[in-house]
């Protein structure tokens, strides 16, 4: 049994080698299909990793009371006309909510910073309450966070994101140095540990953090983000969300028939819409894959029929010398599978290169062994499927008629 396999493999390779152009053209559909499926899975894996990494910034048990919902299809003008979030609601919420463990408030906008001749432009200034570390992943690498009394009194102190620290203080410890934010002087009290990017795009390391009261004192006007973060037990987050909605409605004096004029955002919203996006990407990929494998498979079936026809006499000779039906069938099946598996291999190499490029320039996307195995198995499977009918046709030929074929 084994010897036919190697013999058939040898025949297949030399046959394909002697019809190089034809083999390449035939295999192209498979190459494309395999690129689609393996790149797809690799991208989804990569984006998944990125997503989970990013979700850490949001915290599973955090509810964010904000003007704008993160996702949804509500009318933009309605949203636009909502009142902005009154950050002093934070204390009331803490008071009234059963579930709330920590309630932090924050504002943000961008501004330019400078230290001596060095400057950092468009830096996100984050005004937060002193309990902010409890609801976020910020970590102080050097120095310290500000205290409650510094927050209350509006002290002009600042913590620098790791990138900002590198820009303004390329050689040395920024702690206790004085920097300018616009025209205001701030004393650096700490540097934040590196946090990475949110969804591979928004760096968390180019921000600076100041006390909320200081922010309110310096930056007037309605611009910028405002958010109240309510930290609740993770497993009760859905109940807590309902309660919080009620609390905010009461604080805002909404009548029962009036709609919410605020949004309560949470990680789940991201998750849901991410699942949606993932399904869409995956679905599109599957359709592309299925179509190209189908078209590729039909092409291969076609070329195998041609090959069987062209080699009728050869089949006759082999049968005259004692080849059985299954041996002939095996010969053509292996030939079809060699075309598709080589196509699959080429596709895999190309998608590995592409995913290496993506890892280099966009986000980590590594081809897993499972994906590679699946790609090869899938392409060989297509060959098996496409080769079956032609191979059977060749195997069933009558030896004497095949020998007479011109």
């Amino acid at each position: 049994m084994k010897s036919f396999f190697w013999e058939n493999l040898r025949i297949a390779l030399s046959e394909l080698w002697s019809h190089k152009t034809r083999s390449i053209l035939t295999g192209t559909g498979i190459v494309i299909g395999i690129i689609a499926v393996s790149l797809m899975s690799t991208l989804i894996n990569g984006v998944d990793g990125l997503f989970e990494e990013s979700m850490k910034f949001l915290g599973r048990g955090n509810l964010y009371v904000e003007k704008w919902p993160w996702f949804g299809d509500e009318d933009w003008w309605t949203l636009r006309n909502r009142p902005r979030i009154e950050l002093d609601m934070a204390d009331e919420i803490k008071e009234r909510s059963q579930y709330a463990m920590v309630v932090a408030a924050e504002r943000g906008r961008s501004a330019n910073l400078s230290y001596n001749e060095l400057s950092a432009e468009n830096i996100y200034i984050h005004g937060v309450t002193s309990n902010y570390p409890e609801v976020s992943t910020v970590d102080v690498e050097y120095g310290r966070f500000f205290t409650e009394s510094e927050d209350r009194t509006g002290a002009q102190v600042v913590l620098l994101g790791s990138e900002v620290a590198k820009t303004l203080f390329p050689q040395g410890n920024p702690v206790d140095k004085m920097i300018f934010a616009g025209s205001k002087r701030f004393r650096v009290i700490g540097v934040l540990a590196e946090m990475g990017k949110f969804m591979g795009a928004f760096s968390n390391d180019t921000q600076v953090i100041i006390p909320l009261a200081t922010f309110n004192k310096i930056f007037h006007g309605p611009w910028g983000r405002r958010s109240i973060t309510v930290k609740v037990p993770e497993h009760l987050v859905e109940d807590a969300k309902e309660e919080l909605r009620g609390v905010v409605r009461v604080l805002r004096g909404l009548k029962p028939e009036e709609k919410d004029n605020f949004a309560i955002n949470q990680q789940n919203a991201f998750r849901q819409s991410y699942q949606g996006i993932k399904l869409a990407i995956g679905g599109t990929g599957m359709i592309i894959t299925a179509l190209s494998l189908l078209v590729g498979g039909i092409g291969i079936a076609n070329i195998m029929f041609v090959s069987v026809k062209e080699r009728t006499r050869e089949i006759g000779v082999r049968k005259a010398l004692g080849a059985t039906r299954s041996q002939i069938q095996g010969q053509f099946l292996i030939e079809a599978m060699v075309i598709t598996a080589s196509g699959g291999l080429v596709g895999l190499i190309i998608s590995t290169l592409i995913s290496m490029a993506i890892s280099e320039f966009l986000f980590p996307a590594n081809m897993s062994f499972g994906v590679a195995f699946m790609a090869i198995a899938l392409s060989a499977g297509v060959g098996l499927f496409a080769g079956l009918a032609p191979a059977r046709k060749g195997a069933k030929l009558d030896p004497i008629e095949a020998l007479r074929y011109e």
Binding site: S3, G316, V317, R318, A323, T324, R325, I400, L403
Partner: protein, 235 residues
Amino acid sequence: MSLIQVKDLYKIYQMGNTEVRALDGVSVSIEQNEYVSIMGPSGSGKSTLMNLLGCLDTPTSGEFFMDGTNVATMGDDELAHIRNKKIGFVFQTFNLLPKSTSLRNVELPLIYNGEIKAHERRDMAIRALTRVNLGDRVSHKPNELSGGQRQRVAVARALVNNPAIILADEPTGNLDSKTGEEIMTLFDELHKQGNTIILVTHEEHIAAHASRVVRLLDGKIAVDEATNRGKKVTQ
């Protein structure tokens, strides 16, 4: 028990309304180590008979026993097995695989045998090629060989599996008379070594190599007699 025993063999082709009786009730027995030539005018059914004896074709009706087993009732795989192990077929048009070397062509029956290891196959194929004086042409492809050399490769391929019967359908038909004689010398040697040989020819001097001649006419056996050579042997 005869090596080959054929009883009332018919092969009838239906061509539209007309019936072509390629074999019209043939009965013949051939013993171990016989050397038989089959003669007859073109269209008399010689090739049809050879193809049936070679298990390449199945009869319309009749019985065909080889070594006592009825071949006419065998399935596809059993026939393939018999073709592989018991029969060596030599064709008028050689029927070598054009892209394969002599060595690979000769190895083919051994590959389909399925029980012989690669290095043994190689040795056996080289021995067979040496036997037909082509030991120095193992890596030539058919188009790099002369007609006589090609037919010798085909003979090597027919004998490599040590078959009981060698069947040759006009093996010299495409060769000049000198090369034809070379091939016949090979058959004579194989016969001397104990093989059973059945060959089709329409040339009397080729048929004279055999010890028995069967003459067909319109699908029937017209004459079945010993040749001069055969008479000498039996005297």
